[in-house]
Each structure stands twice: as C-alpha cells, then as structure tokens.
Point group: C2
Chain length 229, copies 2
Amino acid sequence: MKEVLPVFNSAVSIDCVLFGFDGGELKILLIERNEEPFKDWWALPGNLVGENESVDQSASRILHELTGLSDIYMEQYYTFGEVDRHPQGRVITVAYYAMLRLGGDKALKPLTSYAKKAQWINVKELPKLGFDHQHIFDKGLEKIKRRIKHLPIAFELLPEKFTLTQVQNVYELILGKKLDKRNFRKKILSFKVLKELDEKQKGVSFRAATLYKFDKRKYAKLFGKEISF
Amino acid sequence: MKEVLPVFNSAVSIDCVLFGFDGGELKILLIERNEEPFKDWWALPGNLVGENESVDQSASRILHELTGLSDIYMEQYYTFGEVDRHPQGRVITVAYYAMLRLGGDKALKPLTSYAKKAQWINVKELPKLGFDHQHIFDKGLEKIKRRIKHLPIAFELLPEKFTLTQVQNVYELILGKKLDKRNFRKKILSFKVLKELDEKQKGVSFRAATLYKFDKRKYAKLFGKEISF
DNA sequence: ATATACTGTGTATTTATTACACTAAGTAAT
DNA sequence: ATTACTTAGTGTAATAAATACACAGTATAT
C-alpha cells in the first residue's frame, strides 16, 4: 500500500494490437496470461504505464519486450475508460496498433512474467479474449480498415521485396472483400511509391511474379495527402 | 491522503475542445482557471475523471457543467500521456471535441469553482494556454479538418436554418482556405442531406439568401460512407 | 434612379473509378 | 516433348467525380 492524494487513485495501461501478415493470413499477436485476473486466458499484449514513461514510450516498451523490435511506428487509436472494465480497480487503457513485418515466425522473444506464451493468431480464428479485449481489437481493425483506404500502410506488413499479388492479398484481407486485379494494380502503381525490381519471386511452382519494393521517401510524402481504395 | 495499491498512483482527466460558430468566426470555449496550477491562465475546459464515471460520461459531464447542454455527440480524439504534462503528478488526459450550435452567446452556465469565467474565443486569436493545451487544441483542429473532408459535420455548428453561404464559410474557416462557390454548392447538395425551405434569410441589407435545414435521418446514414471535400 | 453587395446558376475539361476477359509464362507430371 | 495446370500480366470503354471559370439577378440603402 502507498499513500497518495485521493485523486491519484487510478491506473493507466496500454494494450496493443500488433498486426502481422504471414502465410497469406492476417494475424495478431496474442499472449496467454500467467497472472490474475484472467489467468490462462488469451489477451492482447499490454501492461501498466510506468511512472517514468509516457504512454507512447510504454507502448513501444511492450512491443519491444515481446518481439525485440524497436523503432516501429505505433498508432494510438482509442482510449477505453469504462468504469468496470478491469476487475481489480480503475484501469483506463490506451490502445495502439502497429503493423509488423514478420520474417517467418521469428520476432518472438523470451517472455516477461505476466505471459505464459505469445502466439501469432489468424484474426479470423481468434479465441475468447479476457477483459474487453475483443472490443478493443474490433475497434482497431475498424481503424486500420479506414486507414488503409487512405494511406498505403499495407506495405508495412510485407517483406522488403514483395509481389503485387501479395499487396492485393493484404488489402483484401484487411478490407474483407475481393478487389479487381487490374484496377488494383493501376491504382497502387499510380501512387508511384513502388519500385519494380529486376528480380522474380522464387520457390513457387508456377510462373514467378516480379518483385517490387517501396520507396520510403516518396511514401513518407504521401502522409499528408489522402488517397482512397 | 489515501491508501491504495502502488499501481493506482495516477489520475486521468478529460479536456474538451468545444467548437462553435458565431459572428462568422470559428470559436472555442475557454475557461480562465481559478485554481493552481496555472491559476489565472486560460485553459481548455477539463476535469478529473470521477471514480464512478466512464471517460465518455466524464466528457459529457464537463460539457454539461459549462453549457447546460446534454446529448451532444462528443468525439474522443487523442490521449496525451507525457510524464511531465501536469506539474502536480501523473495526470493523463483524454481529449474530446464537440461541435456546438451557439444561439448567440447563451449556452454559458454558472461556472464550477475551478473556473473564474468561460468565454468563446476566436481560434485565430487564442491566448496563451496552460498545461499542454495549445498542443491538445492543435491536434483537435487537425482532426476536425480531416473529418470535415469526409463527413458533413459542419452542420452541427450551424443554427437550425442556414444559408449555403454560411455552410461554405464554416468549411472555409475550418479548412483554412477559400472554396469555389459553384463547386461547393454542387457538392454539398449532391449529398442530399439538405432541404431547401420556403423561407429567406432576414435582417440583411442585401438580397436575402434561401434558407436550408438538414435532414437528420439522411445525414445519419452518411456516417459509414465516406465523402470528400 | 442609382450604387452596392451578395445570390444563384452552367458548361467544358480533366481526372478518377468501375467493369470486364484473355493471353503469356513458368512448373510439374507423364 | 507434350500436356495440364496455375498464376502473371495487360487495355479499353463507360461512367462518375473534380476542377476551373464569370456574369446576370435581386433585395436594400440612399
């Protein structure tokens, strides 16, 4: 116990929706909790905001603890503040999402104590989540759906070199609908952020597609402008 | 003083950017503080989140205390969580904005103790604000700029009956640029949320413009779709 | 009657969006 | 070598949306 002014009676936490694209599926990173409340339940990675870190720093720390990754752009998208959302007291949580480039299944580090394990799970097959985390996830997905229509954030999920079909897959998974191939290519190339490489896809049992990479400088300029899918 | 678990050592507050349109100007409601810290400074209306209210409820309460208005749609837009943003302890603040219909200068109620006075102030002539409130305001304005391009939220600032020129003025003030009259009208009417009335503007010393009102039902349907200016 | 100040309207051009289907190229199996 | 298979890659026409641009009409004030 600790003595404080009566107004300092709440806690603030961070929860993260970490998106990854792997094996043709859109996934998020979930942890299996090792602590009460919701011990043994799946949940979004999250933690209390420390006394000496900003909420942004806290989000980056959580990401780093789980994946070893730093310098990832994390977008704060909503703060959830229902009175009873946490069974042990007043905890208001600030939600962030990030788009991660998964290189296979790496990017998972030794875990901190509050989690038994962490796993990338297809967003179409999510288990039951503790707290109000299903709701937090739903809002996050909604958010990136809206965002991907205006900004080509999909590239952040892809490996450095990718095919146009892969880009289209990501769009279709996030938006939840099929897109026309020719129109999609016309549009995505019209942003002029993609560089065609002198290189083809490898290890496929059919005609290999041309690889592209994206031009970070031009891409950065696009933030500011808005574009649509 | 109060004894709590050590993690419950922070406070959460709400700050509100309340937009109004009056006398051809875009204004926000500011208070002059009557308490430390920043006593006698101008600041955004805000308060601590109570133990038994959600953050959304808290925002509505603050609006109600200052203006007497209820049932106003308030949009949460960002949470500010720098370690040192409040001089007296760890206070994380959740920012909301709302668009209000000002009927002249009414809509200001007897004030709560923490404020000496409240006043609608032109966004182009803001005084120096306490805390990080200038930053919070800047983000809020940015947010409605982006939002007004997609949704016709401007009507929420206007009186029940308005002219198309008034609508255009609001857009120009928020976006900070001039728009073409014919194109603006074509576009705004194409949404089909405006009803032309059999009535003209009164009390002007020139040709009176036709009044319109907006159709809340059709307007509600537009949320969901996205449109652009 | 005249000056003033704002209202209200149309068209042509350019740009973006949508709808739509086949051939080309590589791989795998026989 | 032939064939079957699978995905890559491409163009055009039709429609819709965005932009650029200027002047006559009408109420008011003097």
